[in-house]
């Protein structure tokens, strides 16, 4: 008697697809829907991990688009300190779909939306949508507003002219203003602002809410640029801290599972949206956690290389002619030697990733 599994490819079976090849020889993890070409203008936004993707694409000669470049003369380190060249525009990390929608509202809807700004005791001003964008805040409210307007304009121009928009979902946990509903980029009082339990509340966003927000964001992107294609990823970086009341490990599992499910469903439903499994490549048990630094949170360089190796390899496999037949540079899949070293000093992440979330760690209770 025959059954539907008999005609399935080897990739459908754990033994042939995973157990036998092992972590260093996995193939076909992604079946890309559309080609990503070197000639494409690619925009990256989202959570910390999106920074790696943009950098890796640029390093391999892809057209990663910097819509808000650093002003002339800034050294690379200075530019990074002021959050230039991290994402395609100076939004800082966009951890949630709702935050992406807020930025899109500023870029394509009401430029005056979200009028809340913070002033500290020294008269410095901070943007609640990106409180760490200037390390010492802005000199005036006017300067803070003008900088936000410039970023919104850069986002608008990037979306209107891009071919590919890569968005990395990071968190479900968020902090919002009770009265206005505005979501903050980080919990108040961590990097800037002052927490007031009467005005600010914690919200662990649910599946339906995130799905709706992400669909709304994609609708907006599509309206602005009918040719735009969207690649979703989920950040493999665990939560620094949770306000959910759960253990941070289970809270991380919950958050990432919800985000992964939303991304997967939307990619199944919408032809212009694809899901690239960078999350699985870093987190799956088959890789035995080898891509994490000893803190089991930071992703080491080998992990990023492996992720991008899969990205380019699968693109080459499905769309071999996409770059005129030229294959991407041989970004190695994981090499056992490097992977082994990743648990030692040599393989540690250099903390190149700029993460507001890191601020939480600085405020954790001390032993």
């Amino acid at each position: 008697m025959s059954n539907p599994y008999e005609t399935l490819p080897a990739s459908a079976f754990w033994r042939s697809a995973v157990a036998e090849p092992g972590p260093f020889d996995l193939h076909g993890l992604w079946e890309p829907k559309f080609p990503v070409k070197r000639s494409h203008r690619i925009v990256t936004a989202g959570s910390c991990f999106a920074q790696h993707i943009g950098r890796a694409l640029a390093a391999d000669g892809y057209g990663w688009h910097d819509a808000e470049p650093a002003p002339p003369f800034l050294e690379a380190e200075t530019a990074k300190r002021y959050n230039y060249g991290i994402f395609s525009f100076r939004t800082g990390n966009i951890y949630t779909a709702r935050m992406l929608n807020q930025w899109l509202e500023l870029a394509f809807g009401n430029a005056e939306a979200f009028p809340e700004f913070w002033e500290d005791m020294e008269g410095r001003f901070f943007d609640p949508l990106r409180p760490s964008i200037e390390p010492d805040g802005f000199a005036s409210l006017e300067e803070c507003r003008a900088a936000r307007a410039r970023t919104a304009q850069a986002l608008r121009s990037a979306v209107e002219t891009a071919d590919i928009f890569i968005f990395t979902l990071g968190l479900t946990e968020s902090w919002v203003n009770v009265q206005t509903g505005m979501e903050y980029a980080a919990c108040l009082g961590t990097s800037a602002g002052s927490f007031d339990p009467a005005r600010h509340k914690f919200e662990n966003q649910k599946f339906a809410q995130i799905r709706s927000a992400l669909n709304a964001a994609i609708d907006r992107l599509k309206k602005a640029n009918a040719n735009l294609r969207v690649v979703l990823t989920v950040s493999p970086v665990p939560l620094t801290a949770t306000a959910s009341g759960q253990h941070v490990l289970t809270a991380t599992s919950h958050s990432k599972s919800v985000l992964r499910a939303v991304a997967g469903e939307i990619a199944q439903e919408r032809p212009i949206v694809d899901y690239f499994p960078s999350y699985e490549i870093i987190t799956h048990p088959v890789f035995r956690g080898m891509f994490y630094a000893p803190n089991m949170r930071s992703v080491v360089a080998t992990g990023v290389k492996t992720v991008m190796g899969h990205f380019f390899a699968e693109q080459d496999r499905v769309f071999p002619a996409r770059n005129g037949g030229k294959r991407s540079a041989a970004l190695p899949l994981v090499e056992p030697k490097l992977a082994k070293a990743s648990g030692k000093k040599r393989g540690l992440s250099k903390s190149d990733v700029v993460c507001e979330e890191e601020m939480l760690d600085a405020f954790r209770p001390q032993d």
């Binding site: 002003p71 002339p72 003369f73 800034l74």
Partner: protein
């Protein structure tokens, strides 16, 4: 900040921009009463070989012949205690680049925050070796820096590839206010490190960030030389420096 009161000997340190200053002094276009002047430097290619060694500016071997000619007093290195004050001239500090970039931003997408502008200015200055020399010397003696003047107009097409207006086209249409704001930013940041900059007088400037043709060096058009200026220009800058110095000496007194 070291006092400006007792300046009897000053060193003019720089690259080939020193030539106009030498002419200005020897031709009597400017007087610096009571001040003895000595030159120390070398033209562009060998100027790059100067480096800081144990707090002194020392030439590389390739700069020694030119230095011997420029200095004429047998001095082979320069320390902060060798003179009462130092005037850095040209010395690869092309302020036009910063000013033009700043104006281009201001007249286009808008200037970044003041903090970012200050970072731009600092990163611009710190990569100029002579500015770092000046900063180090300023801890011991009064120092002032006259950056390389704006390019001279009418000699080259500055909108051509890799030239100033190709990078910063909006700078050509700068107003006096645009230019003053850009210059002030650079000056403030340099001053914070103890290195005041001496501004190019506005009446010598044209087309946003260019120097008027009347201040061109001799045969500038034939040599396609947009950098070097006339002895008259150098005299003007020295007069301005001297007036500032006198004023400061009065304040210190």
């Amino acid at each position: 900040m070291p006092s400006a009161r007792k300046i009897k000997r000053i060193c003019l340190f720089g690259d080939s921009a020193l030539a106009a200053y030498r002419h200005a002094l020897t031709e009597g276009l400017v007087q610096l009463p009571g001040i003895e002047v000595e030159f120390f430097g070398a033209p562009g290619p060998s100027f790059r070989s100067f480096e800081s060694l144990n707090g002194r500016i020392v030439p590389g071997p390739e700069a020694l012949p030119a230095l011997s000619l420029v200095n004429g007093a047998g001095r082979t290195s320069l320390g902060p205690d060798d003179f009462d004050a130092f005037l850095f001239i040209g010395a690869r500090l092309g302020a036009a680049d910063f000013v033009a970039a700043h104006i281009h931003l201001a007249r286009g997408s808008g200037l970044p925050s003041r903090a970012v502008q200050e970072a731009m200015a600092y990163d611009f200055l710190i990569r100029v070796r002579a500015w770092r020399f000046a900063r180090d010397f300023a801890r011991h003696r009064p120092v002032m820096f006259i950056p390389t003047p704006y390019p001279t107009e009418g000699i080259l097409d500055l909108s051509a590839r890799n030239r100033l207006f190709a990078y910063y086209p909006r700078a050509e249409f700068a107003t006096v206010a645009d230019r003053a704001r850009a210059w002030q930013m650079l000056m403030d940041v340099s001053q914070k490190s103890g290195v005041p900059l001496l501004a190019q007088p506005d009446h010598t400037v044209t087309r946003g960030v260019l120097t008027q043709a009347r201040y061109a060096t001799k045969d500038a058009a034939a040599k396609e030389d947009i950098s070097h200026k006339s002895p008259e220009f150098a005299a003007l800058m020295l007069q301005n420096w001297y007036a500032l110095w006198q004023n400061r000496a009065k304040i210190d007194a």
